[in-house]
């Protein structure tokens, strides 16, 4: 009898795993709670490190997937019951689906920047997030302040919601630094006359091409990088943002006004994922990401046979990382299914 895999989540990880499982001849049901598949990738303009359009990658993933698997959008598991060697997934719509393996590919949420109260997101008009900026860039409309003017000075705040006990997240979200540098360059491309600042604690330029991008940002675009974590923001009468920061390399506390402040928000686990994980009895780390069996050699296995995990629900990953991760997960699922009678 053909074995079925239910993949929870139709983002990068879910689409990739679905394609690979289809390649390997497995039957897949892909559940996506939004109206369409694609996850966060639908919202990005250009991707690091080479600044190619995110829409190209989404197109590629969709093309590869084709119509080879059953996709249900606006659908989400309400309950999941674990049997001897199979699962019953009860959809929110009421339908019950029997399957032999479940892949958690539920992805991530972005940190809600309003929780970093001292930055004033949702209170001061000219404080936006990196996601807001991507949307602006994607829409093709000019980048402006809330008053509709071109900003003459733009600041990027690194580590918003990450590496922060007060925000409840001790971990580094990995992708925000390079996103900050990328967006800083994009601002300069759009507004060559503007002054751009990056306020960082560490610049995590760990992957291929990243360090070169940082060099380009400084050399070609004259972007200023100031080593200090923004402590507080306030609003001037003209709605510009005044921020307090210490330049820790010169040990100088300072106040600076910017016209637009971009908060580089990090990853957080989705509450829905935590709920499903508890239903399935799979472990969640203190950072709320899903635990795997072995960080080096069994990173798509959970503690429960038949339940696998891929993508950012198990920790911060880039898009390329996620595609690789999901491919490995698909192979492991395929091997697992072969062991079932």
């Amino acid at each position: 009898m053909a074995k079925t895999v239910v993949i929870v989540g139709g983002g990068v990880a879910g689409m990739t795993a679905a394609s690979r499982l289809a390649d390997l001849g497995e039957k897949v049901l892909l559940l996506e709670r939004e109206e369409e598949i694609g996850g966060h990738l639908r919202n990005w303009d250009r991707l690091f490190p080479n600044r190619r359009p995110g829409s190209e990658v989404l197109h590629d993933l969709k093309e590869t997937l084709g119509n080879r698997v059953e996709i249900r959008c606006n659908e989400s598991p309400g309950e999941i019951h674990s049997l001897q060697s199979s699962f019953i997934v009860e959809l929110e719509s009421g339908e019950k689906i029997t399957c032999d393996a479940v892949l958690m590919a539920t992805g991530f949420d972005l940190f809600d920047a309003r929780r970093k109260e001292e930055y004033g997101y949702g209170i001061y008009d000219n404080v936006i997030t990196s996601a807001d900026l991507e949307r602006m860039l994607r829409s093709g409309s000019p980048v402006t302040t809330s008053a509709g003017k071109a900003p003459s000075r733009v600041g990027f705040v690194h580590c918003v919601g990450s590496r922060d006990e007060k925000a409840g997240n001790l971990y580094c979200s990995k992708v925000c630094c390079v996103t900050g540098v990328k967006q800083a360059i994009e601002i300069k491309e759009h507004l060559p006359g503007s002054e751009v600042f990056g306020f960082y604690m560490d610049l995590r330029m760990y992957d291929r091409h990243f360090e070169e991008m940082y060099y380009e940002a400084q050399q070609k675009w004259e972007i200023n990088f100031l080593r200090g974590r923004v402590s507080e923001c306030a609003e001037n009468e003209d709605q510009s943002i005044v921020l307090k920061i210490e330049d820790t390399l010169t040990s100088r506390p300072l106040k600076m006004t910017v016209d637009l402040l971009v908060l580089l928000v990090g990853f957080v686990q989705k509450p829905e994922t935590v709920r499903i994980a508890k239903l399935l009895g799979i472990s969640i780390g203190e950072d709320r990401f899903l635990e795997c069996l072995d960080e080096h050699t069994r990173f798509n296995y959970t503690g429960k046979p038949g339940i696998f995990v891929a993508g950012t629900s198990r920790g911060p990953l880039t898009i390329a990382n996620t595609i690789a991760d999901a491919g490995e997960a698909a192979l492991q699922i395929h091997n697992y299914l072969k062991t079932l009678k």
């Binding site: 001292e118 200090g228 974590r229 507080e232 210490e246 820790t248 506390p253």
Partner: protein, 237 residues
């Protein structure tokens, strides 16, 4: 003598206040003392993290630990849960208990505080008392305060106080038996010992500096520590 770092870490506030600083600077960015003094709370944490005996001794003998206004703005912001403001209270305590505080201009001021606030706590049961805030010594309090002090009993009566009288109420006379309990608490918990240490070290320092120090607030050494402020504390670097 134990190592200074070990003495500091014996204080629970030290444990609470120092948890691996990553030098992000949010404390210094928001610190009022860092705005006006040549000072960064981050520097203090940096030195403490090295656990270096000589550097910590220099810290306890220097001005740096006395700039803080203990507003705790740093505690609100630190992403690692550190509390430079708490660490400063521990450092200041140790600096006095070891007698190092007289080595710095700002540290020497502790005698003035002990002889005012410190003694008022034991004498009145309050940290301050109107007759002690003399307008001549506090021009910044303004002419209304001056008028108030000149008519203190009538003004206090008008404002509904039970000024220096028995029973409950504003600025009441705290009963002697309660003041005695307060004194006993100071004796048992090391408060008296610290007061005595502040006095003893200050007398020694006054002698070294060739200044007169009597029991009075009006003596030469007290006047000197109360008013001396080296421009270097705030000068542009």
């Amino acid at each position: 003598m134990d190592r200074l770092y070990d003495m500091l870490s014996a204080d629970v506030r030290f444990k609470e206040g120092l948890k691996a600083c990553l030098h992000c600077g949010t404390c210094t960015a928001i610190c009022p003392a860092a705005e006006f003094y040549n000072y960064q709370p981050r520097k203090i944490v940096e030195i403490l993290q090295t656990k270096n005996e000589e550097e910590i001794e220099a810290l306890l003998k220097g001005d740096m630990i006395w700039y803080c206004g203990e507003c705790m703005s740093c505690v609100t912001r630190c992403p690692r849960g550190n509390a430079p403001g708490l660490l400063i209270t521990v450092l200041r305590g140790l600096s006095q208990d070891l007698g190092y505080f007289t080595e710095s201009e700002k540290g020497r001021q502790q005698l003035a505080i002990k002889r005012t606030v410190g003694e008022w706590i034991l004498e009145y049961g309050y940290c301050m008392f109107p007759s002690e805030v003399r307008p001549e010594a506090h021009p910044e309090q303004g002419p209304v305060w001056k008028w108030e002090v000149e008519h203190i009993e009538e003004v206090m009566e008008r404002l509904g106080a039970n000024y220096a009288k028995t029973g409950p109420g504003i600025l009441r006379k705290v009963p002697d038996e309660d003041l005695q309990e307060l004194k006993k608490i100071f004796d048992v918990t090391g408060g008296t010992r610290r007061f005595e240490k502040i006095e003893a070290c200050s007398r020694q320092k006054a002698e070294e500096m060739g200044m007169e120090l009597t029991d009075s607030l009006d003596s030469e050494y007290v006047h000197h520590i109360y008013t001396t402020n080296d421009p270097k504390h705030t000068a542009a670097e």
